[in-house]
Amino acid sequence: MKTHTNKQLQALAQQFRIDVIETLHSKGTGHWGGSSSVAEILTYLYFKQMNIRPEQPDWSDRDRLILSKGHASPMLYRILEEKGYLKKGTLSSFRDLNSSLQGHPCMNKTSGVEMSTGALGHGLSVGLGMSLMAARNEHPFKTFVIVGEGCLNEGQSWEAIMAAGKFAPKDLVLLVDYNKVQLDGHSKDIMPLDPLVDKFKAFNWNVANQSFNGHDIDEIEKSFKWLNTQISGPSVIIYDTTKGKGVDFTEDTHIWHGSPVGDEHLKKALPQLKTVLSKWEDE
């Protein structure tokens, strides 16, 4: 695997944001808010953390990633494209009829997608099943599950959290993209989740006493250093993130959960995103 510096990863994630917002603009559909929120987390996982072979997507020992918040599919697709699972340019067919890129991830249509998601709340249960089987293998793999507030609103997520506490697979890692905004508004108004750290502790999970900045690759790396000190699982990392990250009028608002990106929006957004990209490229 080509090694990237953390600054290069910051730049990559920002470039993905630009590519995604341009794609959503051209398609007139898709979820910008949640895609932007998870950019650095996904970038770090795919470019620095996961043991995968894009040229051999069914390799049995590969680490698994389940994007339970499946509406962030454009960011996942962009990264799968960059990693070589998909041909360059595939993202331009996002949500088209007959495309391999469905509105929400579909494991039987898109190489590299480990589980079809979209209906919220499924990912952690599925990941638990995978990690339980990983524990039976000679070469166990890690299973990463990414959830947002919506997933954690679903009762099934808490069934899975409870069950993972019982079965305790050591290679199950839950990553919370905690941007605190969901489709209808701020989570504190729709369905508050705090104190989230205490909740996971109560369910016998490994959880750090802090959250980590999910837009700062150095901080994400720090969270994995913490993860590597855990000797038995399951583990959860809570990332503070911002919905609609990188564009002033889309940040921290539910309006941009799934609104179409119009011409004016793109015109205002691109300079902001590119300015930050230049900063990372210059460093």
């Binding site: 589980m115 209906a119 599925v126 099943g129 339980l132 899975a160």
Partner: protein, 311 residues
């Protein structure tokens, strides 16, 4: 008449298959002593997962196992699998065509004393509506073993519906996916049935014969895929079709047969089943009788159909 429990056959078959199939995983939702999946748990504790009362979580855990090449069987009461885990069965198991076997125990009215909350009379309607799903309705305990063995050897999800109470052991061929079995031959009326209603239908056919009505009796335990040729051949011969099932008349076997006949060979039909109502507590046989699933009701409806056809 010898009787045998489907759930007992289920537990025994899991243990037997588990000897040679180390990919077999069994999950249950805190009813493993009732469904008999607990027998597998005792034999192979490292391949048994009791997830507590959480059917939805259980189905998705099984889905995750299936993606890793394992063969999970999820076991619980039919109504809770079909209704509490509908989203998981639809959006994860069926959408991805995963090798998960969904074993629904205590089906139909067979959890009789527990009442409507535990009685599963819409599971077939739900399960057969999902693409990729195979739906099997064993007629007796021995069918459970063959259904399970076949389910573990095909690609894709399978729903197996099982009665709680012991039921008569029948002299018939093992249930085959996609094949109907002709249990009796006659030219006046076709009676297509599945599950525990089969012995009733055979008894009814005997009574009808005494009245000069010869019934073609089909075991349609492979509800999906359905043996379309067998249905059409019989309907052409008899000119009328009665379906019998321990399920709502909406969406189950009667609906499935209607969908076949209306396209190719519409014939007069009638339906024995639960007529769009919630059921209640009581002794199993009395309940079946109250809701019109009885030898008497089958005879009456078959006679009326034949009368209608011959007018």
């Amino acid at each position: 008449m010898e009787t045998k429990g489907m759930r007992d056959a289920f537990g025994a078959a899991l243990v037997e298959i588990g000897k040679s199939n180390d990919k077999l995983m069994v999950l249950d939702a805190d009813v493993s002593s009732s469904t008999r999946s607990g027998l597998f748990g005792k034999a192979y504790p490292d391949r048994f997962f009791n997830v507590g009362v959480a059917e939805a979580n259980m189905v998705d855990i099984a889905a995750g196992m299936a993606t890793c090449g394992y063969r999970p069987v999820v076991s619980a009461f039919a109504i809770f699998l079909a209704l509490k885990a509908t989203d998981q069965i639809r959006n994860v198991v069926c959408y991805n065509n995963l090798n998960v076997i969904i074993a629904g125990g205590y089906s139909g009215l067979s959890d009789s004393f527990d009442g409507a909350s535990h009685q599963s009379i819409t599971d077939l309607a739900i399960m057969r509506a999902f693409p990729n799903m195979t739906v099997l309705v064993p007629a007796h305990a021995d069918d459970v073993t063959s259904a399970l063995e076949q389910a573990l050897n095909i690609n894709g999800p399978v729903y197996i519906r099982m009665c709680r109470n012991p039921s008569p052991v029948l002299n018939k061929k093992p249930l085959m996916i996609g094949k109907a079995e002709i249990l009796a031959e006659g030219k006046n009326v076709t009676i297509g049935a599945c599950g525990i209603t089969i012995p009733m239908v055979l008894e009814a056919a005997g009574l009808l014969a005494e009245k000069g009505i010869a019934a073609d009796v089909l075991d349609l335990g492979s509800l999906k895929p359905l043996d379309i040729d067998a249905i059409l051949t019989s309907a052409k011969k008899t000119g009328c079709f009665l379906t019998v099932e321990e399920h709502s008349i909406h969406g189950g076997l009667g609906s499935a047969v209607s969908e076949v006949l209306v396209k190719s060979n519409p014939v007069p039909m009638d339906f024995v089943g639960i007529d769009d109502c919630f059921t209640e507590s009581g002794p199993y046989v009395d309940l079946l009788d109250k809701y019109g699933i009885s030898v008497t009701a089958i005879v009456a409806k078959a006679e009326a159909l034949v009368g209608k056809t011959s007018q």
